[in-house]
Symmetry: C3
Subunit: 219 residues, 3 copies
Protein backbone atom coordinates (compact mmCIF):
# COMPACT_ATOMS: atom_id res chain seq x y z
CA UNK A 1 0.00 0.00 0.00
CA UNK A 2 1.23 3.49 -0.81
CA UNK A 3 2.34 5.45 2.23
CA UNK A 4 0.34 8.53 3.13
CA UNK A 5 3.54 10.61 3.04
CA UNK A 6 3.97 9.82 -0.65
CA UNK A 7 0.34 10.68 -1.38
CA UNK A 8 0.74 13.96 0.44
CA UNK A 9 3.99 14.90 -1.26
CA UNK A 10 2.32 14.34 -4.63
CA UNK A 11 -0.83 16.25 -3.65
CA UNK A 12 1.41 19.09 -2.48
CA UNK A 13 3.46 19.10 -5.71
CA UNK A 14 0.32 19.02 -7.86
CA UNK A 15 -1.10 21.91 -5.83
CA UNK A 16 2.17 23.77 -6.37
CA UNK A 17 1.85 23.18 -10.10
CA UNK A 18 -1.78 24.39 -10.21
CA UNK A 19 -0.97 27.61 -8.36
CA UNK A 20 2.14 28.13 -10.53
CA UNK A 21 -0.02 27.94 -13.68
CA UNK A 22 -2.40 30.53 -12.20
CA UNK A 23 0.58 32.81 -11.53
CA UNK A 24 2.03 32.38 -15.03
CA UNK A 25 -1.39 33.11 -16.57
CA UNK A 26 -1.58 36.34 -14.60
CA UNK A 27 1.98 37.15 -15.76
CA UNK A 28 0.80 36.64 -19.34
CA UNK A 29 -2.17 38.96 -18.90
CA UNK A 30 -0.01 41.56 -17.18
CA UNK A 31 2.57 41.42 -20.01
CA UNK A 32 5.36 40.30 -17.71
CA UNK A 33 8.35 38.66 -19.41
CA UNK A 34 9.33 34.98 -19.19
CA UNK A 35 11.57 35.42 -16.15
CA UNK A 36 8.81 37.38 -14.43
CA UNK A 37 6.46 34.53 -15.27
CA UNK A 38 8.74 31.98 -13.56
CA UNK A 39 9.15 34.28 -10.55
CA UNK A 40 5.49 35.09 -9.99
CA UNK A 41 4.61 31.44 -10.64
CA UNK A 42 7.10 30.48 -7.93
CA UNK A 43 5.81 33.11 -5.50
CA UNK A 44 2.20 31.96 -5.85
CA UNK A 45 3.07 28.29 -5.83
CA UNK A 46 5.53 28.31 -2.96
CA UNK A 47 4.45 31.40 -0.99
CA UNK A 48 1.61 29.75 0.92
CA UNK A 49 3.82 26.87 2.03
CA UNK A 50 6.68 29.18 2.97
CA UNK A 51 4.33 31.26 5.16
CA UNK A 52 3.02 28.02 6.72
CA UNK A 53 6.51 26.72 7.50
CA UNK A 54 7.60 30.07 8.92
CA UNK A 55 4.52 30.24 11.18
CA UNK A 56 5.05 26.64 12.30
CA UNK A 57 8.64 27.72 13.05
CA UNK A 58 9.87 24.61 11.24
CA UNK A 59 13.39 24.39 9.84
CA UNK A 60 13.94 26.32 6.56
CA UNK A 61 10.79 26.04 4.41
CA UNK A 62 10.64 22.90 2.29
CA UNK A 63 10.37 25.04 -0.87
CA UNK A 64 13.93 26.22 -0.25
CA UNK A 65 15.45 22.91 0.80
CA UNK A 66 13.80 20.39 -1.55
CA UNK A 67 14.70 21.20 -5.19
CA UNK A 68 11.72 19.08 -6.36
CA UNK A 69 9.54 22.09 -5.53
CA UNK A 70 11.26 24.15 -8.23
CA UNK A 71 10.15 21.87 -11.07
CA UNK A 72 6.42 22.75 -11.10
CA UNK A 73 6.90 26.54 -11.52
CA UNK A 74 9.42 26.00 -14.36
CA UNK A 75 7.07 23.52 -16.04
CA UNK A 76 4.12 25.89 -15.61
CA UNK A 77 5.99 28.83 -17.15
CA UNK A 78 7.03 26.68 -20.14
CA UNK A 79 3.48 25.38 -20.65
CA UNK A 80 2.00 28.87 -20.55
CA UNK A 81 4.75 30.12 -22.88
CA UNK A 82 4.14 27.45 -25.53
CA UNK A 83 0.44 26.69 -25.18
CA UNK A 84 -1.32 29.80 -24.02
CA UNK A 85 -1.54 31.76 -27.25
CA UNK A 86 -3.83 29.09 -28.67
CA UNK A 87 -6.04 28.83 -25.62
CA UNK A 88 -7.03 32.36 -24.70
CA UNK A 89 -9.76 31.67 -22.13
CA UNK A 90 -7.68 33.50 -19.61
CA UNK A 91 -9.91 34.15 -16.60
CA UNK A 92 -11.64 30.77 -16.65
CA UNK A 93 -8.35 28.89 -16.80
CA UNK A 94 -6.78 30.97 -14.06
CA UNK A 95 -9.79 30.39 -11.80
CA UNK A 96 -9.83 26.63 -12.43
CA UNK A 97 -6.12 26.15 -11.76
CA UNK A 98 -6.34 28.40 -8.74
CA UNK A 99 -9.28 26.32 -7.42
CA UNK A 100 -7.21 23.16 -7.88
CA UNK A 101 -4.36 24.62 -5.86
CA UNK A 102 -6.77 25.85 -3.18
CA UNK A 103 -8.37 22.40 -2.88
CA UNK A 104 -5.03 20.62 -2.39
CA UNK A 105 -3.27 23.19 -0.21
CA UNK A 106 -6.05 23.48 2.38
CA UNK A 107 -5.49 19.75 2.97
CA UNK A 108 -1.70 19.61 2.94
CA UNK A 109 -1.39 22.80 4.99
CA UNK A 110 -3.76 21.48 7.65
CA UNK A 111 -1.97 18.12 7.75
CA UNK A 112 1.42 19.69 8.29
CA UNK A 113 0.02 21.46 11.35
CA UNK A 114 -1.74 18.28 12.57
CA UNK A 115 1.46 16.24 12.35
CA UNK A 116 3.27 19.05 14.22
CA UNK A 117 0.82 18.46 17.08
CA UNK A 118 -1.08 21.78 16.97
CA UNK A 119 -4.59 22.17 18.38
CA UNK A 120 -7.54 21.82 15.94
CA UNK A 121 -8.24 25.56 15.66
CA UNK A 122 -4.59 26.30 14.83
CA UNK A 123 -4.59 23.49 12.24
CA UNK A 124 -7.66 24.86 10.46
CA UNK A 125 -6.29 28.42 10.48
CA UNK A 126 -2.94 27.28 9.16
CA UNK A 127 -4.57 25.19 6.44
CA UNK A 128 -6.62 28.17 5.29
CA UNK A 129 -3.57 30.45 5.46
CA UNK A 130 -1.56 28.03 3.31
CA UNK A 131 -4.38 27.73 0.81
CA UNK A 132 -5.16 31.43 0.40
CA UNK A 133 -1.64 32.78 1.07
CA UNK A 134 -0.18 32.07 -2.36
CA UNK A 135 -3.09 33.62 -4.24
CA UNK A 136 -3.02 36.64 -1.94
CA UNK A 137 0.70 37.13 -2.66
CA UNK A 138 -0.01 36.74 -6.39
CA UNK A 139 -2.64 39.48 -6.37
CA UNK A 140 -0.63 41.81 -4.11
CA UNK A 141 2.59 41.52 -6.14
CA UNK A 142 0.67 42.01 -9.38
CA UNK A 143 -0.92 45.10 -7.84
CA UNK A 144 -4.53 43.85 -8.02
CA UNK A 145 -7.39 43.77 -5.50
CA UNK A 146 -7.03 40.24 -4.03
CA UNK A 147 -9.63 37.66 -5.15
CA UNK A 148 -9.79 36.78 -1.48
CA UNK A 149 -11.69 40.01 -0.73
CA UNK A 150 -13.53 40.45 -4.02
CA UNK A 151 -17.26 40.63 -3.32
CA UNK A 152 -18.09 38.49 -6.36
CA UNK A 153 -16.08 35.45 -5.33
CA UNK A 154 -16.45 32.83 -2.62
CA UNK A 155 -12.82 31.96 -2.02
CA UNK A 156 -12.04 31.49 1.65
CA UNK A 157 -15.11 29.46 2.61
CA UNK A 158 -14.18 26.37 0.54
CA UNK A 159 -10.72 26.46 2.11
CA UNK A 160 -12.31 26.55 5.58
CA UNK A 161 -14.50 23.57 4.65
CA UNK A 162 -11.50 21.61 3.40
CA UNK A 163 -9.34 22.43 6.42
CA UNK A 164 -12.24 21.60 8.76
CA UNK A 165 -12.96 18.25 7.09
CA UNK A 166 -9.27 17.33 7.13
CA UNK A 167 -9.00 18.08 10.84
CA UNK A 168 -12.21 16.17 11.59
CA UNK A 169 -11.28 13.05 9.60
CA UNK A 170 -7.77 13.07 11.06
CA UNK A 171 -9.07 13.07 14.61
CA UNK A 172 -11.59 10.34 13.73
CA UNK A 173 -8.75 8.24 12.29
CA UNK A 174 -10.40 8.24 8.87
CA UNK A 175 -7.84 10.34 7.00
CA UNK A 176 -6.18 8.52 4.09
CA UNK A 177 -5.00 9.16 0.54
CA UNK A 178 -8.52 8.31 -0.63
CA UNK A 179 -10.38 10.61 1.75
CA UNK A 180 -7.83 13.34 0.97
CA UNK A 181 -8.82 13.13 -2.69
CA UNK A 182 -12.51 13.21 -1.71
CA UNK A 183 -12.02 16.35 0.37
CA UNK A 184 -10.12 17.97 -2.50
CA UNK A 185 -12.99 17.14 -4.85
CA UNK A 186 -15.53 18.69 -2.47
CA UNK A 187 -13.50 21.90 -2.07
CA UNK A 188 -12.87 22.18 -5.79
CA UNK A 189 -16.54 21.60 -6.62
CA UNK A 190 -17.66 24.15 -4.00
CA UNK A 191 -15.27 26.82 -5.27
CA UNK A 192 -16.00 26.26 -8.96
CA UNK A 193 -19.77 25.94 -8.55
CA UNK A 194 -19.90 29.13 -6.47
CA UNK A 195 -17.98 30.89 -9.24
CA UNK A 196 -20.04 29.45 -12.13
CA UNK A 197 -23.40 30.04 -10.46
CA UNK A 198 -22.48 33.46 -9.09
CA UNK A 199 -23.12 32.49 -5.47
CA UNK A 200 -22.19 35.20 -3.05
CA UNK A 201 -22.25 36.16 0.60
CA UNK A 202 -23.65 39.45 1.98
CA UNK A 203 -21.53 42.57 1.82
CA UNK A 204 -19.59 43.82 4.83
CA UNK A 205 -22.42 46.21 5.74
CA UNK A 206 -26.06 45.17 6.06
CA UNK A 207 -28.31 46.75 3.48
CA UNK A 208 -25.56 47.78 1.06
CA UNK A 209 -25.77 46.40 -2.45
CA UNK A 210 -23.11 45.26 -4.88
CA UNK A 211 -22.27 47.95 -7.38
CA UNK A 212 -19.31 49.54 -9.07
CA UNK A 213 -19.53 52.88 -7.33
CA UNK A 214 -19.26 53.34 -3.62
CA UNK A 215 -22.71 53.92 -2.11
CA UNK A 216 -23.40 55.32 1.28
CA UNK A 217 -20.08 56.93 2.15
CA UNK A 218 -20.44 60.63 2.72
CA UNK A 219 -17.72 61.34 5.20
CA UNK B 1 -3.67 43.19 42.76
CA UNK B 2 -4.12 42.36 39.12
CA UNK B 3 -1.08 40.78 37.53
CA UNK B 4 0.64 42.71 34.77
CA UNK B 5 0.26 39.72 32.45
CA UNK B 6 -3.52 39.98 32.69
CA UNK B 7 -3.43 43.72 32.05
CA UNK B 8 -1.23 43.14 29.02
CA UNK B 9 -3.37 40.35 27.60
CA UNK B 10 -6.40 42.62 27.84
CA UNK B 11 -4.59 45.61 26.33
CA UNK B 12 -3.44 43.34 23.50
CA UNK B 13 -6.95 41.97 22.89
CA UNK B 14 -8.46 45.47 22.94
CA UNK B 15 -5.79 46.60 20.46
CA UNK B 16 -6.67 43.60 18.28
CA UNK B 17 -10.31 44.64 18.39
CA UNK B 18 -9.54 48.27 17.47
CA UNK B 19 -7.42 47.29 14.48
CA UNK B 20 -10.03 44.72 13.43
CA UNK B 21 -12.70 47.43 13.35
CA UNK B 22 -10.43 49.60 11.19
CA UNK B 23 -10.00 46.67 8.79
CA UNK B 24 -13.74 45.94 8.62
CA UNK B 25 -14.47 49.63 7.97
CA UNK B 26 -12.02 49.59 5.06
CA UNK B 27 -13.70 46.39 3.82
CA UNK B 28 -17.03 48.23 3.93
CA UNK B 29 -15.69 51.17 1.93
CA UNK B 30 -14.03 48.84 -0.58
CA UNK B 31 -17.30 46.89 -1.02
CA UNK B 32 -15.77 43.63 0.17
CA UNK B 33 -18.22 40.96 1.31
CA UNK B 34 -18.76 39.77 4.88
CA UNK B 35 -16.17 36.99 4.68
CA UNK B 36 -13.67 39.45 3.20
CA UNK B 37 -14.49 41.77 6.09
CA UNK B 38 -13.64 39.06 8.66
CA UNK B 39 -10.45 38.19 6.76
CA UNK B 40 -9.09 41.71 6.35
CA UNK B 41 -10.11 42.49 9.93
CA UNK B 42 -8.09 39.47 11.05
CA UNK B 43 -5.09 40.39 8.89
CA UNK B 44 -4.93 43.92 10.27
CA UNK B 45 -5.63 42.87 13.84
CA UNK B 46 -3.30 39.89 14.00
CA UNK B 47 -0.71 40.70 11.32
CA UNK B 48 1.43 43.03 13.42
CA UNK B 49 1.65 40.49 16.24
CA UNK B 50 2.37 37.62 13.84
CA UNK B 51 5.24 39.59 12.29
CA UNK B 52 6.52 40.40 15.81
CA UNK B 53 6.41 36.75 16.92
CA UNK B 54 8.10 35.57 13.71
CA UNK B 55 10.89 38.14 14.11
CA UNK B 56 11.34 37.20 17.77
CA UNK B 57 11.56 33.61 16.52
CA UNK B 58 9.11 32.59 19.24
CA UNK B 59 7.05 29.42 18.96
CA UNK B 60 4.06 29.64 16.56
CA UNK B 61 2.54 33.15 16.82
CA UNK B 62 0.03 33.54 19.62
CA UNK B 63 -2.65 34.55 17.11
CA UNK B 64 -2.55 31.00 15.74
CA UNK B 65 -2.32 29.14 19.02
CA UNK B 66 -4.66 31.09 21.31
CA UNK B 67 -8.24 30.97 19.96
CA UNK B 68 -9.15 34.01 22.13
CA UNK B 69 -7.48 36.13 19.46
CA UNK B 70 -10.12 35.10 16.93
CA UNK B 71 -12.99 36.63 18.88
CA UNK B 72 -12.20 40.34 18.31
CA UNK B 73 -12.12 40.15 14.48
CA UNK B 74 -15.43 38.23 14.42
CA UNK B 75 -16.99 40.72 16.81
CA UNK B 76 -15.67 43.65 14.77
CA UNK B 77 -17.07 42.29 11.52
CA UNK B 78 -20.49 41.75 13.14
CA UNK B 79 -20.52 45.26 14.65
CA UNK B 80 -19.62 46.88 11.34
CA UNK B 81 -22.19 44.72 9.55
CA UNK B 82 -25.07 45.71 11.86
CA UNK B 83 -24.13 49.22 12.97
CA UNK B 84 -22.20 50.87 10.20
CA UNK B 85 -24.99 51.84 7.83
CA UNK B 86 -26.34 54.24 10.41
CA UNK B 87 -23.02 55.79 11.29
CA UNK B 88 -21.38 56.75 8.03
CA UNK B 89 -18.51 58.87 9.25
CA UNK B 90 -16.16 56.43 7.64
CA UNK B 91 -12.73 58.06 7.59
CA UNK B 92 -12.95 59.56 11.07
CA UNK B 93 -14.02 56.29 12.63
CA UNK B 94 -11.33 54.31 10.83
CA UNK B 95 -8.67 56.77 11.97
CA UNK B 96 -9.84 56.73 15.58
CA UNK B 97 -9.96 52.94 15.87
CA UNK B 98 -6.64 52.67 14.07
CA UNK B 99 -5.13 55.17 16.54
CA UNK B 100 -6.44 53.08 19.43
CA UNK B 101 -4.80 49.95 18.03
CA UNK B 102 -1.56 51.84 17.40
CA UNK B 103 -1.48 53.17 20.97
CA UNK B 104 -1.90 49.72 22.52
CA UNK B 105 0.26 47.69 20.15
CA UNK B 106 3.35 49.90 20.45
CA UNK B 107 3.25 49.04 24.17
CA UNK B 108 2.48 45.32 24.00
CA UNK B 109 4.90 44.77 21.11
CA UNK B 110 7.72 46.50 22.96
CA UNK B 111 6.97 44.56 26.13
CA UNK B 112 7.09 41.21 24.40
CA UNK B 113 10.58 42.06 23.18
CA UNK B 114 11.61 43.38 26.63
CA UNK B 115 10.50 40.18 28.36
CA UNK B 116 12.40 38.19 25.69
CA UNK B 117 15.57 39.96 26.85
CA UNK B 118 16.30 42.01 23.72
CA UNK B 119 18.40 45.20 23.82
CA UNK B 120 16.54 48.55 24.05
CA UNK B 121 16.97 49.48 20.38
CA UNK B 122 15.58 46.12 19.25
CA UNK B 123 12.65 46.50 21.65
CA UNK B 124 11.70 49.93 20.31
CA UNK B 125 12.01 48.77 16.69
CA UNK B 126 9.90 45.70 17.36
CA UNK B 127 7.25 47.74 19.20
CA UNK B 128 6.97 50.11 16.26
CA UNK B 129 6.91 47.22 13.79
CA UNK B 130 4.09 45.56 15.73
CA UNK B 131 2.14 48.81 15.90
CA UNK B 132 2.45 49.84 12.26
CA UNK B 133 2.65 46.34 10.72
CA UNK B 134 -1.07 45.57 10.83
CA UNK B 135 -2.10 48.87 9.28
CA UNK B 136 0.57 48.50 6.61
CA UNK B 137 -0.76 45.03 5.72
CA UNK B 138 -4.31 46.44 5.65
CA UNK B 139 -3.38 49.15 3.17
CA UNK B 140 -1.21 46.85 1.02
CA UNK B 141 -3.83 44.10 0.76
CA UNK B 142 -6.54 46.65 -0.01
CA UNK B 143 -4.26 48.08 -2.72
CA UNK B 144 -3.95 51.56 -1.22
CA UNK B 145 -0.97 53.85 -0.57
CA UNK B 146 -0.15 53.03 3.08
CA UNK B 147 -1.15 55.66 5.69
CA UNK B 148 2.32 55.04 7.08
CA UNK B 149 3.89 56.91 4.14
CA UNK B 150 1.12 59.41 3.41
CA UNK B 151 2.56 62.92 3.67
CA UNK B 152 -0.58 64.23 5.39
CA UNK B 153 -0.42 61.89 8.39
CA UNK B 154 1.88 61.57 11.38
CA UNK B 155 1.64 57.85 12.03
CA UNK B 156 4.99 56.32 12.92
CA UNK B 157 6.20 59.03 15.31
CA UNK B 158 3.54 58.38 18.00
CA UNK B 159 4.43 54.68 17.84
CA UNK B 160 8.11 55.54 18.36
CA UNK B 161 7.18 57.72 21.34
CA UNK B 162 5.09 54.91 22.86
CA UNK B 163 7.74 52.26 22.30
CA UNK B 164 10.44 54.55 23.66
CA UNK B 165 8.45 55.46 26.79
CA UNK B 166 7.65 51.79 27.42
CA UNK B 167 11.32 50.81 27.16
CA UNK B 168 12.38 53.71 29.40
CA UNK B 169 9.80 53.04 32.14
CA UNK B 170 10.56 49.31 32.04
CA UNK B 171 14.25 49.87 32.64
CA UNK B 172 13.46 52.40 35.39
CA UNK B 173 11.21 49.79 37.05
CA UNK B 174 8.20 52.09 36.72
CA UNK B 175 6.22 50.07 34.20
CA UNK B 176 2.81 48.93 35.46
CA UNK B 177 -0.76 48.54 34.25
CA UNK B 178 -1.36 52.16 35.21
CA UNK B 179 1.66 53.63 33.40
CA UNK B 180 0.81 51.42 30.41
CA UNK B 181 -2.61 53.11 30.20
CA UNK B 182 -0.94 56.52 30.53
CA UNK B 183 1.46 55.78 27.68
CA UNK B 184 -1.43 54.58 25.53
CA UNK B 185 -3.30 57.82 26.26
CA UNK B 186 -0.27 59.91 25.26
CA UNK B 187 0.21 58.01 21.99
CA UNK B 188 -3.50 58.14 21.15
CA UNK B 189 -3.68 61.86 21.90
CA UNK B 190 -0.53 62.58 19.84
CA UNK B 191 -1.82 60.63 16.82
CA UNK B 192 -5.35 62.05 16.92
CA UNK B 193 -4.27 65.65 17.61
CA UNK B 194 -1.75 65.52 14.76
CA UNK B 195 -4.54 64.29 12.48
CA UNK B 196 -7.16 66.80 13.66
CA UNK B 197 -4.81 69.78 13.57
CA UNK B 198 -3.12 68.80 10.32
CA UNK B 199 0.35 68.65 11.83
CA UNK B 200 2.93 67.39 9.41
CA UNK B 201 6.64 66.75 8.99
CA UNK B 202 8.76 68.05 6.08
CA UNK B 203 8.66 66.16 2.79
CA UNK B 204 11.41 63.72 1.82
CA UNK B 205 13.21 66.43 -0.18
CA UNK B 206 14.06 69.86 1.19
CA UNK B 207 12.23 72.67 -0.54
CA UNK B 208 9.52 70.55 -2.13
CA UNK B 209 5.95 71.37 -1.26
CA UNK B 210 2.91 69.21 -0.68
CA UNK B 211 0.73 69.04 -3.77
CA UNK B 212 -1.19 66.54 -5.82
CA UNK B 213 1.04 66.57 -8.85
CA UNK B 214 4.67 65.63 -8.80
CA UNK B 215 6.85 68.74 -8.86
CA UNK B 216 10.50 68.84 -9.70
CA UNK B 217 10.96 65.48 -11.43
CA UNK B 218 12.08 65.90 -14.98
CA UNK B 219 14.12 62.79 -15.56
CA UNK C 1 45.08 40.43 6.33
CA UNK C 2 41.50 41.60 6.68
CA UNK C 3 39.15 38.84 7.75
CA UNK C 4 36.43 37.82 5.31
CA UNK C 5 33.79 38.50 7.98
CA UNK C 6 34.77 42.16 8.08
CA UNK C 7 34.69 42.39 4.28
CA UNK C 8 31.24 40.83 4.27
CA UNK C 9 29.85 43.05 7.01
CA UNK C 10 31.01 46.08 5.05
CA UNK C 11 29.65 44.79 1.74
CA UNK C 12 26.34 44.12 3.50
CA UNK C 13 26.22 47.60 5.07
CA UNK C 14 27.09 49.25 1.74
CA UNK C 15 24.34 47.20 0.06
CA UNK C 16 21.94 48.33 2.80
CA UNK C 17 22.90 51.93 2.10
CA UNK C 18 22.42 51.56 -1.69
CA UNK C 19 18.95 50.05 -1.29
CA UNK C 20 18.05 52.68 1.33
CA UNK C 21 18.90 55.46 -1.14
CA UNK C 22 16.71 53.79 -3.77
CA UNK C 23 13.84 53.69 -1.25
CA UNK C 24 14.29 57.34 -0.23
CA UNK C 25 14.36 58.39 -3.89
CA UNK C 26 11.07 56.59 -4.47
CA UNK C 27 9.70 58.31 -1.34
CA UNK C 28 10.72 61.64 -2.88
CA UNK C 29 8.99 60.90 -6.18
CA UNK C 30 5.88 59.67 -4.37
CA UNK C 31 5.77 62.84 -2.22
CA UNK C 32 6.13 60.91 1.04
CA UNK C 33 7.30 62.93 4.04
CA UNK C 34 10.68 62.68 5.76
CA UNK C 35 9.57 60.04 8.26
CA UNK C 36 8.04 58.02 5.40
CA UNK C 37 11.35 58.36 3.60
CA UNK C 38 13.26 56.86 6.55
CA UNK C 39 10.69 54.08 6.88
CA UNK C 40 10.55 53.02 3.24
CA UNK C 41 14.33 53.33 3.04
CA UNK C 42 14.57 50.97 6.01
CA UNK C 43 12.03 48.53 4.57
CA UNK C 44 13.89 48.28 1.25
CA UNK C 45 17.31 48.20 2.84
CA UNK C 46 16.57 45.72 5.61
CA UNK C 47 13.61 43.76 4.19
CA UNK C 48 15.61 41.37 2.03
CA UNK C 49 17.91 40.45 4.89
CA UNK C 50 15.02 40.08 7.34
CA UNK C 51 13.26 37.68 4.93
CA UNK C 52 16.56 35.77 4.53
CA UNK C 53 17.10 35.45 8.28
CA UNK C 54 13.48 34.39 8.86
CA UNK C 55 13.73 31.72 6.15
CA UNK C 56 17.05 30.49 7.56
CA UNK C 57 15.27 30.36 10.92
CA UNK C 58 18.22 32.14 12.49
CA UNK C 59 17.85 34.03 15.76
CA UNK C 60 16.13 37.46 15.45
CA UNK C 61 17.19 39.09 12.15
CA UNK C 62 20.46 40.98 12.35
CA UNK C 63 18.69 44.18 11.23
CA UNK C 64 16.79 44.17 14.55
CA UNK C 65 19.65 43.18 16.82
CA UNK C 66 22.62 45.10 15.40
CA UNK C 67 21.98 48.87 15.62
CA UNK C 68 24.71 49.49 13.01
CA UNK C 69 22.11 48.50 10.40
CA UNK C 70 20.00 51.55 11.30
CA UNK C 71 22.69 54.04 10.28
CA UNK C 72 22.54 53.57 6.48
CA UNK C 73 18.77 54.27 6.15
CA UNK C 74 19.06 57.41 8.31
CA UNK C 75 22.06 58.58 6.30
CA UNK C 76 20.27 57.86 3.02
CA UNK C 77 17.18 59.82 4.05
CA UNK C 78 19.32 62.80 5.08
CA UNK C 79 21.32 62.72 1.83
CA UNK C 80 18.19 62.60 -0.30
CA UNK C 81 16.63 65.36 1.79
CA UNK C 82 19.58 67.75 1.39
CA UNK C 83 21.01 66.80 -2.00
CA UNK C 84 18.20 65.56 -4.18
CA UNK C 85 16.61 68.82 -5.23
CA UNK C 86 19.76 69.75 -7.08
CA UNK C 87 20.20 66.40 -8.77
CA UNK C 88 16.86 65.55 -10.31
CA UNK C 89 17.82 62.58 -12.48
CA UNK C 90 15.43 60.49 -10.50
CA UNK C 91 14.96 57.23 -12.41
CA UNK C 92 18.60 56.83 -13.40
CA UNK C 93 19.82 57.37 -9.86
CA UNK C 94 17.25 55.00 -8.38
CA UNK C 95 18.21 52.28 -10.88
CA UNK C 96 21.94 52.70 -10.25
CA UNK C 97 21.66 52.55 -6.46
CA UNK C 98 19.23 49.66 -6.72
CA UNK C 99 21.72 47.82 -8.97
CA UNK C 100 24.46 48.40 -6.40
CA UNK C 101 22.31 46.90 -3.65
CA UNK C 102 21.36 43.97 -5.87
CA UNK C 103 25.02 43.25 -6.70
CA UNK C 104 26.07 43.17 -3.06
CA UNK C 105 23.04 41.41 -1.56
CA UNK C 106 23.09 38.45 -3.96
CA UNK C 107 26.59 37.75 -2.60
CA UNK C 108 26.02 38.34 1.11
CA UNK C 109 22.65 36.53 1.06
CA UNK C 110 24.17 33.48 -0.62
CA UNK C 111 27.11 33.47 1.79
CA UNK C 112 24.90 33.53 4.85
CA UNK C 113 23.17 30.38 3.55
CA UNK C 114 26.52 28.75 2.63
CA UNK C 115 27.92 29.33 6.11
CA UNK C 116 24.68 27.90 7.57
CA UNK C 117 25.47 24.67 5.69
CA UNK C 118 22.59 24.70 3.18
CA UNK C 119 22.76 22.80 -0.11
CA UNK C 120 23.86 24.74 -3.24
CA UNK C 121 20.35 25.12 -4.69
CA UNK C 122 19.02 26.53 -1.41
CA UNK C 123 21.97 28.93 -1.22
CA UNK C 124 21.36 30.31 -4.70
CA UNK C 125 17.61 30.68 -4.06
CA UNK C 126 18.21 32.44 -0.77
CA UNK C 127 20.80 34.76 -2.32
CA UNK C 128 18.37 35.75 -5.05
CA UNK C 129 15.54 36.16 -2.52
CA UNK C 130 17.72 38.44 -0.38
CA UNK C 131 18.74 40.50 -3.41
CA UNK C 132 15.30 40.98 -4.95
CA UNK C 133 13.24 40.92 -1.71
CA UNK C 134 13.94 44.49 -0.63
CA UNK C 135 13.13 45.99 -4.03
CA UNK C 136 9.96 43.89 -4.24
CA UNK C 137 8.85 45.19 -0.82
CA UNK C 138 9.67 48.75 -1.93
CA UNK C 139 7.49 48.49 -5.02
CA UNK C 140 4.65 46.68 -3.23
CA UNK C 141 4.48 49.14 -0.33
CA UNK C 142 4.63 52.09 -2.74
CA UNK C 143 1.78 50.49 -4.71
CA UNK C 144 3.74 50.07 -7.98
CA UNK C 145 4.13 47.14 -10.39
CA UNK C 146 7.39 45.56 -9.14
CA UNK C 147 10.51 46.15 -11.29
CA UNK C 148 11.09 42.45 -10.77
CA UNK C 149 8.23 41.60 -13.16
CA UNK C 150 8.42 44.59 -15.48
CA UNK C 151 8.90 43.36 -19.04
CA UNK C 152 11.40 46.13 -19.83
CA UNK C 153 13.92 45.24 -17.14
CA UNK C 154 16.32 42.37 -16.60
CA UNK C 155 16.45 42.26 -12.82
CA UNK C 156 16.44 38.71 -11.46
CA UNK C 157 18.94 37.20 -13.92
CA UNK C 158 21.95 39.23 -12.68
CA UNK C 159 21.08 38.19 -9.12
CA UNK C 160 21.00 34.53 -10.22
CA UNK C 161 24.40 34.96 -11.90
CA UNK C 162 25.85 36.54 -8.74
CA UNK C 163 24.40 33.91 -6.40
CA UNK C 164 25.56 31.12 -8.73
CA UNK C 165 29.13 32.48 -9.01
CA UNK C 166 29.32 32.95 -5.24
CA UNK C 167 28.23 29.35 -4.62
CA UNK C 168 30.63 28.01 -7.27
CA UNK C 169 33.67 29.95 -6.02
CA UNK C 170 32.87 29.03 -2.41
CA UNK C 171 32.82 25.32 -3.20
CA UNK C 172 36.03 25.68 -5.24
CA UNK C 173 37.68 27.39 -2.26
CA UNK C 174 38.26 30.54 -4.32
CA UNK C 175 35.90 32.88 -2.49
CA UNK C 176 37.60 35.89 -0.92
CA UNK C 177 37.05 39.60 -0.40
CA UNK C 178 38.64 40.20 -3.80
CA UNK C 179 36.54 37.69 -5.75
CA UNK C 180 33.46 39.01 -3.90
CA UNK C 181 34.16 42.47 -5.31
CA UNK C 182 34.68 40.97 -8.78
CA UNK C 183 31.33 39.16 -8.64
CA UNK C 184 29.63 42.36 -7.48
CA UNK C 185 31.19 44.22 -10.44
CA UNK C 186 29.94 41.56 -12.89
CA UNK C 187 26.39 41.65 -11.49
CA UNK C 188 26.31 45.45 -11.42
CA UNK C 189 27.65 45.68 -14.99
CA UNK C 190 25.14 43.07 -16.23
CA UNK C 191 22.18 44.82 -14.61
CA UNK C 192 23.17 48.33 -15.71
CA UNK C 193 24.17 47.34 -19.25
CA UNK C 194 20.89 45.46 -19.73
CA UNK C 195 19.03 48.56 -18.59
CA UNK C 196 21.07 51.04 -20.67
CA UNK C 197 20.98 48.95 -23.83
CA UNK C 198 17.35 47.91 -23.45
CA UNK C 199 18.11 44.17 -23.38
CA UNK C 200 15.06 42.08 -22.69
CA UNK C 201 13.86 38.50 -22.44
CA UNK C 202 10.82 37.09 -24.28
CA UNK C 203 7.36 37.73 -22.86
CA UNK C 204 5.52 35.12 -20.82
CA UNK C 205 3.65 33.92 -23.91
CA UNK C 206 5.33 33.00 -27.19
CA UNK C 207 4.40 35.29 -30.06
CA UNK C 208 3.06 38.16 -27.92
CA UNK C 209 4.75 41.52 -28.32
CA UNK C 210 5.56 44.27 -25.84
CA UNK C 211 2.92 46.98 -25.90
CA UNK C 212 0.89 49.16 -23.61
CA UNK C 213 -2.45 47.57 -24.25
CA UNK C 214 -3.22 43.97 -23.56
CA UNK C 215 -3.22 41.98 -26.79
CA UNK C 216 -4.80 38.61 -27.35
CA UNK C 217 -7.03 38.36 -24.29
CA UNK C 218 -10.63 37.97 -25.28
CA UNK C 219 -12.03 36.00 -22.40
Amino acid sequence: MISIDIVLLWLDLIGVFFFAVSGCLLAARKQFDFVGSILIGSIVALGGGVIRDIILNAAPPVAFTNPAYLAPPLLAALLVYYLFSSVQRFTSLLTLFDAGGLALFCITGTLKALTAGMNPVTCILLGVTTAVGGGLLRDITANEIPTLFNNRDIYALPAFVGAGLTTLLWHLGLFSGLTACLIAAVVFAFRVTAWRRGWYVPLAVRGWHRQGANPGVRD
